[in-house]
């Protein structure tokens, strides 16, 4: 195999044993890498219905065939497991030197199963893998723990690790790296915590073998140059994803007051231009020449890396219009190792629960002191309210009430886009493979110019197209989608880089067939796990939150807008017909067989009965 290392490191923390799996070429050719490897491994090796926080759960850290090779934004890895937040498939990707070093060490993925009786970390140094006591690191925040690990193992090594939130199994704890890079908002940090696994550190000295290194080098150099010459590059380098605050405000989709409104009165205080006045630098992932992390000092003078989603959920969504205060919340969340989006969603829910008399605490929009205190309680799973909210919005709303304003899909909280007036984006959240998340099909920009308020079939088609590109192609190559999606680097560059690395001659359509297989297998995993846990499954699982149907916008140019439930259901039906799923949202037998998933069809047939 060229491009792939052909090896996966398998670590059993219960027995403290490691083994190397020389995996078959079929795995590479049928699933490519990253998310593809993750779902195939989870499907094949996880006992159905397993408790996500038990030793029997498996967590996968996976790269792809161009990860770590010099090329645009190829320094990422996917982290996946059965999610303790949703009890379905969970994953996230993080930009980190650890991804590059994993590949240089000779592996394409690391799989961890079992649980250690005491805190440990895993050190991977080329062909050597050790499980090392981590009692001295347990309890440390992610910044301090990573500094200690890098002092011990060298500044060029790469680490992914958890903080106190992961250790305490906050259900939306993340995996962190490089003081601000986060991945796995589906609770991948909690899974590491349940295994007493503080970190994985990678050091490698090799390079994955490429089929045509000269061609790859030419393509990589040209694509880097191409990025810098795109018209959007200069503005991107000034504001990065923070430019989206103004964009979302103008388009009435900026999450405000727990997704009650799409415009925020103080948006100018927290947008990209406000950030530019405070900016002191920027940083990002390895192999990237359009780094997205804009740094400012927070209200305590500490350096923080800002991003749109963090600022939207911890700022406007909480009625907080002071960027330096929002930045402090962002920094603390990164240090605790908790998802900034999930944290903002949980606090927003709590404020609305307070206003509705569901909890004793009195919390107002924009009350920084109360928000900060609650953020700490949630992130450390401390106190009665903090402990409840640390288990996620679905659990909290079942426990406290307030289901009608719990802003999640399948347990994963909504990210930074209000959908009162965006049916296509609501569908994207509804059918996302991990619960409400934008990474698979961010359709809202296209939607603004294609019948914003309509529920037409072309919206379902666009959601699927984006899922194939973003959720399939980029999540299996494991490269960052931002050069394509934000400055316009053409997709063909990545196809050619893949072919030069692997020696294959695939087209984008070939990658889309892989994407269809992976997205369908992920769907099968959700259904298998839900049924094995004794829960039902219906198309209602793919509905966005009730608030967007029931409570219209009261401010801004789109005042009065809300989703129509009957029309949404029809839109969902369009999507099901496109992907070959039945009226319940369960893949048809013919769909599974077409994608080479006959064994999956036989398992689902016994569990739920399939439609042809």
């Amino acid at each position: 195999m060229k491009g792939w290392n052909g090896k996966i490191l398998w670590v059993d923390l219960t027995s403290k044993k490691t083994k190397v799996w020389d995996y078959p070429v079929e795995l590479a050719h049928n699933y490519v890498g990253g998310r593809g490897f993750a779902i195939k491994i989870l499907w094949d090796h996880l006992k159905p219905g397993v408790d996500p926080l038990s030793p029997q759960n498996i967590i996968v850290f996976a790269t792809g065939p161009i990860t770590g090779l010099p090329g645009p934004s190829t320094g990422k890895m996917v982290i996946a497991s059965k999610s303790p937040l949703t009890h379905g498939y969970g994953d996230g990707n993080v930009g980190t030197r650890a991804a590059v070093m994993m590949r240089k060490a000779g592996y394409d993925a690391v799989v961890v199963e079992g649980a250690s009786d005491k805190p440990v970390y895993i050190l991977v140094e080329d062909s050597k893998a050790d499980i090392i006591p981590a009692e001295d690191l347990w309890g440390l925040d992610t910044f301090e723990a990573e500094r200690k690990l890098l002092e011990r193992h060298g500044k060029t090594s790469g680490a992914v690790l958890i903080g106190p939130s992961g250790e305490r199994m906050v259900r939306f704890a993340t995996v962190m790296s490089q003081e601000g890079r986060a991945g796995g908002r589906t609770g991948m940090g909690a899974v590491m915590g349940s295994k007493n696994l503080k970190a994985i550190v990678f050091r490698g000295s090799g390079t994955p073998e490429m089929a045509d290194p000269e061609e790859y080098g030419r393509l990589a150099s040209s694509s880097y140059r191409e990025i810098k010459h795109k018209p959007a590059y200069s503005f991107w380098m000034r504001q990065g994803t923070m430019m989206a605050i103004q964009w979302s405000q103008e388009n009435s989709v900026l999450p405000t007051y727990n997704f009650s409104e799409g415009v925020f009165e103080e948006s100018e205080n927290i947008n990209g231009f406000a950030m530019e006045k405070m900016k002191i630098g920027q940083r990002g992932c390895p192999n990237c020449n359009m780094v997205c992390g804009n740094m400012i000092k927070d209200d305590e003078g500490e350096v923080v890396e800002l991003d749109y989603e963090n600022v939207a959920l911890l700022g406007s969504n909480l009625g907080l219009g002071d960027l330096r205060k929002v930045a402090r919340l962002n920094r603390l969340a990164d240090m605790w190792g908790v998802d900034t989006i999930g944290l903002g969603a949980a606090i927003g829910f709590a404020i609305e629960a307070s206003q509705n008399g569901l909890i004793g605490e009195r919390i107002e929009w924009g009350d920084f002191s109360a928000i900060l205190s609650l953020a700490e309680d949630i992130s450390l799973s401390r106190g009665e309210l903090g402990g409840i909210l640390a288990k996620g919005l679905k659990y909290a709303s079942e426990k406290l009430g307030g289901e009608k304003f719990a802003m999640h899909v399948k347990g994963l909280s909504i990210t930074g886009y209000d959908c009162h007036a965006a049916p296509g984006m609501a569908l994207s959240y509804g059918v996302s493979p991990i619960g409400a998340h934008h990474k698979d099909a961010w359709v809202i920009s296209w939607e603004t110019q294609h019948g914003r308020f309509e529920y037409s079939r072309d919206k379902a088609e666009k959601v699927l197209e984006l899922q194939r590109i973003r959720g399939g192609f980029f999540e299996t190559m494991v490269a960052c989608r931002l050069p394509w999606v934000e400055v316009g680097l053409e997709l063909d560059w990545y196809v050619r880089l893949f072919n030069a690395a692997t020696g294959l001659s695939w087209s984008l359509e070939d990658h889309f067939r892989i994407a269809d297989r992976i997205l369908t297998l992920i769907r099968a995993f959700w259904i298998r796990e839900y049924l094995a846990e004794g829960k039902g499954w219906s198309r209602k699982m793919d509905y966005p939150p009730r608030k967007w149907f029931e409570k219209p916008l009261t401010k801004g140019p789109l005042k009065g807008a809300r989703l129509d439930p009957l029309k949404y259901d029809k839109l969902l039906g369009y999507y099901y017909s496109l992907v070959g799923w039945d009226h319940r949202g369960i893949p048809r037998r013919t769909t599974l067989e077409r994608l080479g998933l006959e064994d999956v069809a036989n398992i689902l047939e016994d569990m739920v009965g399939l439609v042809d």
Binding site: W247, R481, V485
Partner: protein, 75 residues
Amino acid sequence: MSIKIMYFGYFSDIVGKKKDIVNAEKARIREIVDKRILKLTGGDFVVLVNGVPSRLDSFVKSGDEVKVLPHMGGG
């Protein structure tokens, strides 16, 4: 007798300003948007009139505010 046009994101870099005033009672949006933006994008961008989604071939009138934004990728 004027229509205000505002350019957002990297469009303001290309046009060299963030807003423009067009003296007209009525106009088709396509006719008053900066030609460099039209050429660069082929007309594929976000258009809002008074905050409400609109289209390039729609008409606007004096007093309207037209906002022209590049498409975004959504991270």
